[in-house]
Symmetry: C2
Subunit: 216 residues, 2 copies
DNA sequence: CCCTTTCGACATACCGGGTAGTATAGTAGC
DNA sequence: GCTACTATACTACCCGGTATGTCGAAAGGG
């Protein structure tokens, strides 16, 4: 089933499709078991492939993990930058958080792998090439975090947010959202509207964490 | 250095002391590398012991991991139940979040290991005894979560919090706090007052996420 | 239109290193 | 000598990575 092996027609789409299939399976496995406990063989078994195939598309297990991570970061960046970019700070932050929460629920494996973190792998002895990949991913993650920091700064400057340290305030904000990848599990009968309700609650929560208290 | 081997005096304190030493080293290692990537030998090396000693005190690597986890859950329970138990909901929630954040910063290894989660290890094939331990830990974690749910329920009932689903609202709350174990790293010159400032910010954030908006 | 060559995309077999766990022996206090 | 604790030596096993084989599809020439 699926694409026949060896065909080079539709090269535009079928060539990356195998890669994406492996990425999907890897994200599933990493999400469930974590990096160290996931074996390449288990990923292969889920696909009906063998190690030769995986190591044809990816240089190493770390490379595969990084690729999953990179995809998650890119998806996050697209979601955040596309969320009401011209709205005032409060509306924009709400839109960003909503989009972020929706993204996590709809691409759970990728985003959960990303939420597992990179720091843990910085400690293990790595090759120079892996270090470079790691630093690139850290940069991507920091760039996404800065999108939040920027909107918080603007909100504080305009007086619609409390006087907080934007960098510090971004931490619980990201925690509240990223934590979703830990407790959310999709239900069979759940539709987009259900996820939207959850995402709205989460966005309300993080926005409320920055607004002025109702001490009127 | 440290306690001499073989002594049984001060049995009240020295007996658990070795166990606690191993637990501390294990928490450090698990925090840095994760469960699967941490070897018993590396824990032993950090203590100047060998595997024989560790396997005398703990039946298995999982047992050691569970013990770290259990200690974290117990510490969390103590911190949460001791935080302004008789204050009204808003003050109590703020006190709980503050105590929680302080606990994470002051017992980073334990709490970070706990934040790594249990679900990941539920998937791997485990023995029946390990399953029992796992379910006990899940129960402890859920009990702590329910402490937050209860105060949210009370706050909603009294009208001081927004009309939220308490169980759902507890998720971003816990995420905002637990995430601290991911980004916080203690600085040499940092004192209790510095941590308290951070904890106050975090508690303000999660409390603000539940209060009514300032739409006056 | 046919045969041969080349190449992309996998499978198979294997090695080497690391590691959880065990079995056993040793050592210090009571 | 008994008990509590620790060190040493060893085994069985899993897993990442590699070296090599296979097979079908494009490519190319006549």
């Amino acid at each position: 089933m699926g694409a026949k092996p060896g065909r080079a027609t539709d090269a535009v789409e079928s060539l990356p499709s195998r890669r994406e299939e492996i990425l999907d399976a890897a994200a599933e496995a990493f999400m469930t078991l974590g990096f160290a406990a996931t074996s390449i063989d288990s990923i292969c078994a889920a696909l009906g492939l063998t190690k030769g195939s995986v190591y044809y598309h990816f240089r190493s297990k770390s490379d595969l993990f990084f690729a999953v991570h990179r995809r998650a970061m890119e998806r996050t960046r697209v979601a955040l930058t596309g969320a009401a970019p011209d709205a005032p700070p409060a509306e924009r932050l709400h839109a960003m958080a909503f989009a972020h929460a929706m993204l996590i629920m709809e691409h759970l494996p990728d985003l959960r792998v990303a939420a597992l973190g990179l720091e843990m792998h910085l400690m293990v002895r790595t090759t120079a090439a892996e270090r470079a990949d790691l630093e690139e991913l850290v940069a991507l993650r920091d760039a996404n975090e800065r999108l939040y920091v920027a909107v918080i700064e603007e909100g504080v400057a305009r007086g619609v947010f409390r006087k907080v340290d934007p960098r510090l305030a971004s931490k619980p904000l990201l925690g509240a959202l990223n934590w979703t990848s830990r407790w959310y599990q999709p239900r069979p009968r759940q539709r987009r509207a259900d996820r939207a309700a959850i995402a709205t609650e989460l966005a309300d929560f993080v926005l409320g964490g920055l607004l002025h208290r109702s001490t009127c």
